[in-house]
Symmetry: C2
Subunit: 319 residues, 2 copies
């Protein structure tokens, strides 16, 4: 078995030599640019770790790992267009650097290539898992956009949205890794649930870090607040705040103001209901649920350690 | 064996009951709207016809047929965004009726569903054919966009572009149909070539009809001319015209004028080199090539008749 760091090296090596295509350059350059922006490579890591944990070899799963990473990057590329985002990991987004048409089409090509990589595994079940969850990711992104226009989003709806948009893919990665190691359906299902729940916890952590996380790094916080994004922090605060304060929070969330004052005002309301502790608790619940499913997979405890450590790191991260 | 009309009925029945998904409606309604706009359903027809011709059953190929049709509609949906097209088959395009983000995402979902339908066939080779040609279609669309900005597009480049953008998909449809009937690789390859060549002829016919076709139907012609689209008609005319007239044609193609005068002026130049006969001859060459490949497929002549008649119809069509 390999350590997480060794798996990460394998992934970087494979990513570096991955060629989606070459001609026309106007189609493939943007795709390669997108991949070159880096990222945590969390999804391929989950595929490989699950595969090794359940007795498979890296080589059996490397194509699937790349396929999931490529699919993830395709969704980011298209999401950036939809969100009109100027930057991705500090660099111009594809639609900014090139144009919207190129971003749409390069994304489409990345998507095709991601399916080809999954297909290269030669495992029908893995393809089924990949495709059904790919569709759920589209549904999650659509719900996210729908929620921007709605005032009555419930916490359950929010959790469903992040489950679809963000959490099922890590679940599918773990499930695919296990299936590629010829693990049983039950093992694979537990791993899907483990990935899904850590994915939800991960997104809640993201919400938290967006409002509070970067303070100690001297970075500006509150991007979600400025964008009036109805995150868990916001929705749960509305429930906990006295009616008059809830009204103020709602009003703050109607303004298009982008100054630090707005962020501070919102966070003061968040703080008044101890939202950080609130969200920490919910995160922990999902984290625990995730570990429970890991627990239930019929694999020697020591083989689970890399994944458990990885989950732990994800929960402890400060940015 | 079924007649083309019977196959068309099968396809309409299957399309009518095809559900990509239901929730969120904001994701799936646009996709179903797109499919409801109709069209010739040429690609599924090719899949079914090739399957029956080579000894297969409709039921073996219906999912693939729907998958190809869905993929085709996904490309139209995204192309419409890129082309900023207001109408599709006389109805508002998805990005006009909803918005660009919805059009991007609904297209993505259609694409996932199309792969799922191909996957449902359970035939690895068919998936390979589908995916490799899907990537080529993206390349063709990118080349088409690239050519808009280039003044030095050659006829060969144009033919390569339409081959990728338009012709390989009909090829893949016939090939897939044959593979689903467990035909030999050679039979499937001949059918791919037959489909590709009829696809090129089909696109050239489209070019011709765009400039000349609808006159007798009282419809406005010359959309390609008004859009300064460097079609075969334009590129070949440039080669055949005396230098001074070629210059005039080039100048006409720099104007953004959208009046009938421009169309008439361009067509006068086209007519002066008998471009209609020119293109008719090239079309016939591709048509013949297509029939030659059909000829070479080791199948009883009578079983080829539906496909031959269909090809013939495509070539004879007046709109």
């Amino acid at each position: 078995m390999h350590s997480i760091e060794e798996l990460q090296q394998e992934i970087e090596k494979a990513m570096a030599s991955l060629k989606i295509g070459s001609r026309p350059a106007s189609l493939y350059d943007p795709a390669h640019y997108m991949l070159s922006l880096g990222g945590k490579r969390m999804r391929p890591l989950l595929v490989l770790a699950a595969c090794e944990m359940t007795g498979g070899k890296i080589n059996d799963a490397i194509n699937a790992a790349l396929g999931f990473e490529l699919f993830h990057n395709f969704t980011l590329l298209h999401d950036d267009i939809m969100d009109n985002a100027p930057l991705r990991r500090g660099k111009p987004t594809v639609h900014e650097k090139w144009n919207t048409s190129t971003a749409i089409l390069s994304g489409d090509a990345m998507f095709v290539k991601s399916v080809q990589l999954i297909q290269a595994c030669g495992n029908r079940k893995v393809m089924d898992v990949f495709l059904s969850n790919a569709l759920l990711v589209c549904e999650g992104q659509q719900l996210d956009m729908d929620f921007e226009k709605r005032e009555d989003v419930s916490i359950d709806e929010y959790l469903e949205m992040i489950t679809l948009k963000t959490a099922v893919l890590p679940g599918a990665c773990l499930q695919a890794g296990a299936l590629l190691a010829s693990a049983s359906e039950i093992t694979a299902s537990h791993l899907f649930e483990a990935g899904k729940n850590i994915g939800i916890a991960f997104q809640l952590k993201d919400d938290l870090l967006d409002a509070y996380g970067s303070e100690q790094f001297g970075k500006q916080t509150g991007g979600d607040i400025l964008a009036n994004k109805k995150t868990y922090l916001y929705l749960r605060s509305l429930q906990l705040l006295p009616e008059s304060d809830a009204l103020i929070l709602k009003q703050l969330y109607t303004s298009k103001e982008t100054g630090i004052q707005k962020v501070e005002a919102v966070k003061k309301l968040f703080d008044s209901v101890n939202i950080q502790e609130e969200i920490q608790q919910v995160m922990n619940d999902y984290f625990r649920l995730s570990l429970e499913h890991l627990e239930k997979t019929p694999v020697q405890k020591k083989n689970k350690l890399p994944l458990i450590n990885l989950f732990d790191e994800l929960m402890q991260r400060k940015k």
